[in-house]
Every structure is written in C-alpha cells, then in structure tokens.
C-alpha cells in the first residue's frame, strides 16, 4: 500500500513537471519578443561586441613634437619615440601653440616638448627634462603616450650611463654591468599586449547570458500577468501543492535553451575572434552550467517583480553596464567600497565572469575556479528558495485579489486620488468603460 502511494506520487510529480516544462518551452517559442531577445540578440550580440572590440590594441598614437633643442641627441630621442609600438611622431611643430592646436583638433593625442638645454644638460651631467603633455580624453591615449616616452627614456638612461662609465675607465661588459646592476625579465603571458579586446570581451560574454535570460524571462512573466494567466496560478491545478514542480519545470526549459546559447557564446564566438581559450573544456563547461543554473533562479526571483510586459527594459536595463563593473574585471575588486562589494553578491555575473576569465581565458584549473563554483552554488540555493517563495506569495495574492483591490481603493481615497476620474482623463469615456468592464470581470 505504502509502496504504491509513493510511485503514484512520483509519477504525478513527474507528469506535472513535464507538463510545465513543455508549456514553458511553448511559451518561449511562441513569443516573438522573446525569440528576438534569445535567438537574435543572443546570437548577434556576442558577435557584435567581439567585432566592435576586434582590434583592442591601440598602436601608433599620433604625437606632436616641439623640438627646441634640435641637436643630435634630441633628434635621436624623437626617432626612438617614433619607433615604439605605442607612439608615432606625426607632427613636428615650431612652437607649443601649434602643437596645442593640433591636440584640440584631435589630430595629435600627445605633445612631447624638448627644451633648448636638453643636449647641453646631458653633456654637463645634469638631468635633462623633457615635458610630456598627455591627451586624457581616453585612457588608452594617455597610457600610450606615457609608456612610449618612458620606454625610450629608460633605454636612453642605460645608454648614457654606459657611455659615462666607459669614459671613467670601465670598458665593454663592465660598463654594461654597472649601468644595469639588476636585469628585469617580463613574463606576462596572460594578455601580453594589454589588449582591450581580451580584457573586456571575456567579461562581457557571461554578462550577456545573464542579462538576456533575465530580460526574456521578464518579458514572458509580464505578458502572462497582463493576460491574467500568471505562472504562479499553475499550482492551483495541483490543489495548492507543487511549487517545486513549477520552479523546476520552468527552469529546465531555460536550461535547455541557454545551454545551447551558452555553448555558442563560451566556445564558438571566442574562437572566431581569436580570444584565447586556454582552459580545459570540462572546466569551462562546469563554469557555464553552474552559471546558467544560477542565472535561471536569479531571473525567476527578480522577474517576479515585473508586472507588465515592456516595463523590464525601462526599469532594469541600466543594470547591464553596472553588472559589468561589479564583475570586477575593470575596476579591481579590492578597491570596491564595502557596500558595492556586498551589492555585487546579488548577481551571478560577479562570480560567473571571473570563473570564465580565470578558468577559460587564463587557463586556470579547477583549484582556481572552484571557489567561484561554490559561490554560485550557494547563490543558486538561495535564489531557488526565494523563487519558490515568490510563487507561493503570488499564488496567495491571486486568490485574494478582490480584497487587495479594496485596500488599494481605500488607500487611493485616503490620499484624495480619484482613480475613476484619472482613468477617464487618460483613456477617454470609451476607454474607461472598457477598463472597468475588464477589471470587474476578473
């Protein structure tokens, strides 16, 4: 007897679960707005971003040079600056006014000023100072100006020291040893040229997954609510039980869709655009799966705040760029103010992006991404229970609709808002009649 009851429970559970799953799949594929977001934006956006940032290395920033010295030493310095990867000397100016004009016209993005005593100072064993004026309108210009000129400065420094030691009686290798007492070897293999592409695009991929899922799901939820067939009314058919069935059944539908989109975004797009994939396949797959599951319950919980179809964009679109900053790849996590650090724990992307950057792009193994997987698991559990709670609460609200409406009317009356009059002004007599007919029908 006991045995039989158990099997029937499992069977009905599974039947309901499967029904909800199929229903959700049908919803997703029969809504053109959701299809636009999931399949058109989902396929095009990662491509578009990869394309916009396809060439993330800024080379040969044009610089204007004002050479008041005009000596062999100064010309040599300028030649070497021109030869760097970062800077190209595009203009030789007679005076600072001319150079400044070029900079305001955005023809030059930096000015190098060599004073008239440059070569004299070097000969006299004094410090010869050159002035550099950087264009700060984009930090990549600034970085190039500074790096290009500093590299030349350091190189010249060594050469001048060697010359001086040679004059002091140290020859050949000895002079070099004195001039360079410590040798520096740079082994920066992760993103060697500080490419903006690799840095930014590898963080954007997972943000796209999270945001698209959230917007699409909210669109569906909003539509269902507008049409008075909220997903939360589903448990009614199961006599009030089965919140888990609803949440898991719907979740499976999104898992199916987003593992497809996710595999495309995490593997195919980066290989098309030369983003390095150094991580092992299964590590990336694990990160992706944990992330997608986390996003599903995250979206389920937050989308329950959406009551109308289009409002999700008006209310939440601005979070996309903010999530990118909270992922901590541009502004370093250790510099986050405390509040924003806590705030960032709301989003799966905070952990997901890092798992992808550190695991897939940098090639870290499971010991490196393990921490993020654990964080995402905790987040998943929390959001799962929150999502269940929201279904439960909404179910209650649907059942007690009339009482709630009475409360709303009472509150409106208390604050002197005449809802009926408002509706008549906004929608006109005919519209208002329709509105009242519709609301009374529910």
């Amino acid at each position: 007897m006991e045995e039989e009851k158990k099997t029937t429970f499992l069977r009905t559970w599974f039947k309901d679960f499967w029904g909800i799953f199929l229903n959700e799949i049908r919803e997703i594929f029969s809504d053109s707005g959701v299809i636009l977001i999931y399949f058109v934006a989902g396929l095009a956006y990662p491509m578009l971003y990869s394309l916009v940032y396809a060439n993330g290395i800024v080379n040969d920033t044009p610089m204007a040079v004002v050479d008041m010295n005009d000596s062999e030493a100064s010309r040599d310095f300028i030649r070497e600056v021109d030869a760097t990867r970062e800077v190209s000397v595009a203009y030789h100016c007679m005076n600072m006014e001319e150079a400044q004009r070029l900079m305001t016209e955005r023809k030059a993005h930096g000015i190098l000023y060599i004073p008239s005593d440059f070569s004299k100072n070097i000969v006299q064993f004094k410090t010869a100072t050159v002035s550099l004026y950087c264009d700060m309108t984009s930090f990549l210009y600034y970085k190039n100006d500074l790096m290009g000129v500093n590299h030349v400065m350091i190189d010249k420094l060594g050469k001048i020291e060697v010359e001086r030691y040679t004059k002091a009686g140290y020859y050949g290798k000895n002079a070099d040893r004195l001039a360079h007492p410590i040798i520096v070897e740079d082994h920066s293999q992760l993103n060697t040229n500080s490419s903006y592409t690799i840095f930014l695009v590898s963080a954007i991929y997972f943000i796209i997954i999270q945001q698209l899922m959230f917007y699409g799901m909210s669109l569906l939820v909003g539509t269902q609510r507008e049409e008075n067939r909220s997903f939360a009314s589903l448990p009614d058919q199961f006599e009030g039980h089965g919140v888990n069935r609803v949440v898991l059944g719907r979740g499976l539908a999104y898992l199916l869709v987003f593992m497809g989109i996710g595999l495309y975004i995490a593997f195919i797009v980066p290989s098309l655009f030369g983003i390095p994939i150094r991580g092992q396949f299964f590590n990336t797959l694990a990160a992706l799966t944990f992330f997608v599951v986390d996003c599903i319950f995250f979206s389920m919980f937050w989308s329950s705040l959406i009551t109308r179809r289009e409002s999700v964009f008006v209310l939440f679109l601005f979070m996309s760029p903010i999530c990118l900053f909270l992922a901590g790849s541009s502004w370093p996590t250790f510099a986050f103010p405390k509040f924003w650090k806590l705030f960032s724990y709301i989003f799966p992307s905070t952990f997901g992006c890092k798992a992808y950057i550190n695991g897939t792009v940098a090639g870290g193994d499971i010991s490196i991404i393990g921490g993020y997987l654990i964080h995402m698991t905790i987040q998943t559990i929390v959001y799962y229970f929150l999502a269940c709670a929201m279904v439960h609460i909404e179910n209650k609200i649907i059942r007690h609709k009339d009482e709630l409406r009475e409360i709303r009317d009472r509150l409106a009356a208390m604050h002197g808002i005449d809802i009926e009059k408002n509706v008549r002004i906004i929608a006109g007599e005919k519209g208002a009649e329709e509105y009242f007919k519709r609301t009374n029908k529910d």
């Binding site: 636009l36 578009l48 916009v52 940032y53 060439n55 900079m103 064993f125 410090t127 002035s131 550099l132 950087c134 309108t137 984009s138 930090f139 350091i154 420094l157 030691y165 040893r177 004195l178 007492p181 410590i182 040798i183 520096v184 070897e185 740079d186 082994h187 920066s188 993103n191 060697t192 500080s194 903006y196 840095f199 539509t223 289009e310 409002s311 209310l315 679109l317 601005f318 760029p321 790849s329 541009s330 502004w331 370093p332 250790f334 510099a335 986050f336 924003w340 890092k354 950057i357 550190n358 940098a362 870290g364 010991s367 490196i368 921490g371 002004i425 906004i426 929608a427 006109g428 519209g431």
Partner: protein
C-alpha cells in the same frame, strides 16, 4: 490659441498618467539617481591604491627585504609574500594579484659582485587596471633599485654628493595630464557613463510612453484631446518629457562639475547646452524608433539593444579609430558619440563654440528624425492596426 489649448490638454493628461503609473518617474528620476550615486561612490578612490603584488623572495637578504619594504611603501602597491612561485601564480590567476615579482637567489651577493641578477615579473593584464598599476609599480621599483646601486658606484668614483642625483637620472620625463591632472579614473568614466545612462533613459522612457498609448488603446483619446492633430499631441508629450529630462540632465551637470568638482576647462553653460542637445537628439531617436515600429514590445527591445551599444560606440574607452571601419561609421548614429566629442572640446580644452560647432550641427540633425515617421505614427494611432503584445 487652439494649439496652446491642445498642448495644455496633453500636458495635463500626461501628468495624470505619471500619477497613475509610477514607472515613468521611477524609470527616469530614480534610475538616474541610482546611477549617479553608483558612479560617484564606486569610483570614489579615483585611482585604486595599494594594488596587491605578490613577492617571492628567494634571496632573503637585507637587500631583498629592503626592496620589498620600499615596494610596500609605494602608494601604488601593497606586497603579499609567498613561499614559492606556484602559490603566488594561483592567486595571480584568480585575479587577486596585479602581478608577481620573483627575486632570485643570491640577489644581494650578485649585485655586489656585479653579476647582474635577473628579477622576474609576471603581470595579469586580463584585469587591465590591476595589471597596468602593478606593472608601473614594479617598473618604478626596479628602476629605483638600479639607481640606488649606481649612486654607490658614482660615490666610489669620487663624485660630490650634490651631483649624485643628477648623475643617476640623466633624462627625466615630466608628464602633464591635461584636463585630469590627478589621473583620476573615476572622473574619466563618470563623465561619459552618466550621460550615456541619461541617453538610455530618454530613449526607453519616451518610446515606452508613446508605445503605451498604442498598447492600452488610448491613442485615439490622445488625438481627441488635440482635436486630431498628431503634431500637437507629439509636441505636448515632448514638452513634458523634455522638461523632465533636461531638468535631470542639468542637475547631473551641476552635480558633476559644481558639487563634485570634476575638472572643467570651459564653461558650465556650454555643458548645459550640450546635455540639452543630447536629450533632444535622443528624443528624436526615440520617436523615430517607435514611429518606424509602432509595436510596443519590438520598439522597446530595439531601443534597449540600441542604447546599450551607445556605451561602447561613444569611443570613450576604446577609441573609435581602432574599431573596424564600418563600426566607426555606425558610431555617428549615436547621440552620445557627438556628446563625447563635444565634452572633449569643452571640458578638456575649453574651446567654446569654435571647437564643438560640428557636434552641435550633428545633434541638431537627430531632431529632424521624427518628421519622417509622423505620418506613419499617426496612422498607427488612429487605426490601432498593429499588434499590441
């Protein structure tokens, strides 16, 4: 007179709608307030200080310890000690360190016997600011260490003490950061992020408002209010929203350049004009989108996809000239791109009208966009023949 009455009717009607549905004010004022608070607090530090740098000290002499202490004392960096490279590398891969420096065995002995010990760096530039700052700190530190050794050499060669400083630094670069002297990353980002958020808000809220008339079937009533004139209806709507958005924009400019003291070379009034033009141009785009596609959900989705792209295509992070050429052309279709160029002229160089008149012209062109769709939008408003869901 009739026109004014019509417009007044639309304005009053719109205010009623705001009272009835909080989404308009929440989506505009509250959203922009949140973004402003975010930008001003999140980038509060200006430039991150004390970037963690891993140190593997295989020498363990007074020289290496001195080196580490000096590195730690820099404003830029903070050292974290590791016993071996593998442990440090794990933290580097996690992005917790900007870089690692490995000091070799016998470093101090090798320096003294002029054997040129090799110091090794490992930078993680996947976290670009972190990596750049760590690199800067390590480079500065090794150059300082080199200079310290040279100082001793020159001292032994018999140069007087007062000449040593000049001797170890034959060439110096005196760098000036025009318009952002403190090299403040917060100024750099906030200056364009906030207007880009404003552009996004204008496009979304306005197309939502115009779309809602279709969606809830109230568009005919709107036209009744203006006795059938689409121009008056649109003017009325735009009047309310322009006052709201320009008010928000001007408050934003005041907060940035007056209250938060962001550096500005030019005039505040010119930036007011810039932000008003940005709002008007974005409104043009918004009406154009809903006019081309009088289906609320599609118009909103397109508006969303469009306005998010503005952040990248303004070119304030990665300059547009390195983007693929067709993307460079595309960037001209975003008001925020023109605003960015205007802001470069005014905030950095204070050129005034002579510098930004081309942007003024470009932004004005966006304002003519609604004329192309006015007829189509009126058709949709009267016939209500497009899907509403």
């Amino acid at each position: 007179m009739k026109v004014w009455n019509d417009i007044r009717g639309v304005v009053l009607r719109e205010l009623r709608i705001w009272m009835h549905r909080p989404i308009y004010l929440v989506g505009s004022i509250v959203t922009l307030m949140f973004c402003t608070i975010f930008c001003l607090t999140f980038f509060n530090e200006g430039i991150p200080e004390d970037v963690p740098v891993g140190v593997v000290d295989n020498d363990n002499s007074w020289v290496s310890r001195y080196f580490i202490r000096e590195l730690d004392a820099m404003q830029l960096a903070k050292t974290v000690k590791f016993d071996n490279y593998d442990e440090a590398a794990e933290e580097l891969y996690k992005g917790n360190l900007g870089g690692i420096i490995v000091l070799p065995q016998r470093m101090s002995a090798d320096i003294q016997s002029q054997k040129q010990p090799e110091v090794h760096y490992y930078i993680n530039s996947l976290y670009i600011i972190n990596g750049a700052l760590a690199y800067k700190a390590l480079l500065t530190m090794t150059n300082t260490a080199n200079a310290a050794v040279q100082r001793e050499v020159y001292r032994k060669l018999g140069y007087p003490e007062y000449k040593l400083r000049d001797l170890i630094q034959p060439i110096a670069v005196d760098a000036h950061q025009i318009g952002n002297a403190e090299n403040n990353y917060g100024y750099y980002l906030t200056n364009i992020l906030l207007p880009a958020f404003l552009e996004m808000i204008v496009i979304l809220v306005l197309s939502y408002s115009l779309g809602a008339e279709l969606k809830y079937g109230t568009s005919r009533h709107l036209l009744d209010t203006t006795h059938g004139s689409m121009i008056d209806a649109l003017l009325g709507k735009l009047l309310v929203y322009t006052i709201l958005f320009t008010g928000m924009g001007m408050a934003m400019i005041l907060i940035l350049y007056n209250w938060a003291h962001f550096p500005i070379a030019g005039s505040l009034w010119h930036m007011f004009l810039a932000i008003i033009m940005l709002v008007l141009a974005s409104e043009g785009i918004s009406v154009f989108i809903i006019g081309c596609l009088p289906v609320p959900r599609l118009a909103l989705s397109i508006s969303a996809l469009y306005s998010v792209l503005g952040f990248s295509l303004s070119g304030f992070t990665l300059p547009t000239e390195v983007m693929p050429s067709f993307v460079q052309g595309l960037s001209a279709a975003f008001p925020i791109r023109h605003y960015y160029l205007w802001y470069c002229q005014e905030v950095f160089y204070g050129t005034g009208f002579a510098g930004w008149w081309p942007q003024l012209v470009s932004l004005s062109i966006f304002m003519f966009l609604p004329l192309f769709v006015l007829y189509r939008l009126k058709g949709a408003y009267v016939k209500q023949n497009f899907p509403t869901n």
